[in-house]
Amino acid sequence: MSVSVPFRGDRMVRIALTLAATAFVALFLLLPLIAVFVEALSKGVAVFVAALTEPDALAAIKLTLLVAGISVPLNVIFGICAAWAITKFDFPGKSLLITFIDLPFSVSPVVVGLVYVLLFGAQGWFGPWLIEHGIRIIFAVPGIVMATVFVTFPFIARELIPLMAEQGRDDEEAALSLGAGGLQTFLRVTLPNIRWGLLYGVLLCNARAMGEFGAVSVVSGHLRGLTNTMPLHVEILYNEYNFTAAFAVASLLALLALLTLVLKSTLEWKFDYSHGSVRH
């Protein structure tokens, strides 16, 4: 009776809705996560460790780190450039450009894989030329990197554009009027302003880069120990009915996801930074 606004006040409604939402999230999100760890450890720690330390698993881990290590920095560079051009200047066609940057969000990962096969595969446009010069892109690391860059393409730009638009141009114009150069202005004025947003984008970009499955699956060729990333390794193990090993590798990816969530939440709470985009 102390508050009059509807739904805020009625205790029973409040409890019922809270329980329903909690139950839904627990059932659909939390339970699968728990299942991963339970299954991974179901045959004991020894089996778990063995599954992670066999050569193919190690190769998959290495490849995943390598792919993320290449594609995330590329997206950082692109994201900063795109956000700088879009927020610091006025030009016609700006909204079209933003739409194009968003495009990869709405393309199926499998289609992404396919378009690279059509371009660089043996039957593709550049296929014959590539074979002639002994360059492998499809069924090799370059193809995996390219597919990963495509699917993670908008992450950082999408995080930075609203942030930098909100901050305006006053700070940069002030720095320039005080005699700073372009690069100095960026490093000493812009970058400190956007670092948490950038970190946020990097976190989400990295999670997707390490976890991408569909696009990478099409271009990788599933060569064990050579072009298998961790998610692909999970698939192979699972399809061989080696469930415990599959979940062991999966649990490593789930840990990465948890770490991402913890860091992300920390950023949100500590710096009161709320993300500008939901299109992940």
Binding site: M1, S2, S4
Partner: protein, 350 residues
Amino acid sequence: MIALHNISKRFGTFAALNGVDLTVRDGEFLALLGPSGSGKTTLLRIMAGLAFPDQGQVRFHGEDVTALGVADRKVGFVFQHYALFKHMTVLDNVGFGLSVRPRKERPPKAKIRSRARELLELVQLGGLGDRYPAQLSGGQRQRVALARALAVEPQLLLLDEPFGALDAKVRKELRRWLRQLHEQMGLTSIFVTHDQEEALELADRVVVMEQGTIEQVGSPEEVYMTPSSGFVSRFVGDSNSLPVDLFEGSAYFHERPIYRLSGETGNGGARLDFRPHDVVLDAGGADALPLLVTGVYRRGGSWRVEGTVDGSSRIVEVDVVADAAPPAIGSRLGLSIKRARLFAANGAPQ
């Protein structure tokens, strides 16, 4: 008649209202005036049924409505930021209250629209019915909010800082217009404001509030001329306030008698409050207080003179009719107080 009896309300440890009693007469235009945090908005919300007192009673025409929510009290409430429904046209906003009535009491659609149009005419916005709130100016939004509140034919109109979000010029026009509208309709209306000028100009009676209690209730004239406390004296209108010592019927400032008191007063410390216009400058009498002029500016038909008194850093404001040349900055004048009120050093009436 609206009657509030012994209303108290706490938010956590903060006492927003402390045993407030108030009676509102039918048809009157009442202002709740006070600084922020004085409890005026909380009191308004309790009258509306948007908040509920921890203790006390609210009666509308003798009926106890304390437990009734806003939807059942038949009050019109105009929010500080208007709270218009952004996704509805102006006409739909105004007709909303009629369109959400239970089916049996709901007028037909055509009737709701024609009633909404009438109200828009009343607030001088006829023809803007098809616009969205975002397409209106602040003053226009305010009037839509008013028309919307009036559409449900409330027995009481409540307005929370109705002019707070408007710029000075629009505010003044709207004030005059609202006063006229009230006279036309005779609807019991209560508005909250922190602007004493607004309260004095508009209201039949002013309720001055401070720290969750009512300091004074009275006509604008009463509140201005005979403030019941130092707080009211200083909050309503400009007022100078000097710490004085009382001795044998005179008030002393820095051991200089500056004001002759009428009636019985004790001896001891007190505060002497006087308005800038209740002063004569230049007199060389025994009671005159030396004033060093530090600033002069024009305020309409008079000069507002600022100065420090008797070597202290205390600033006093004085109004001088602007017929003659203003006193020069740096000049020393004598100041005699023609009318003043005495309050205890802690602000209570004395």
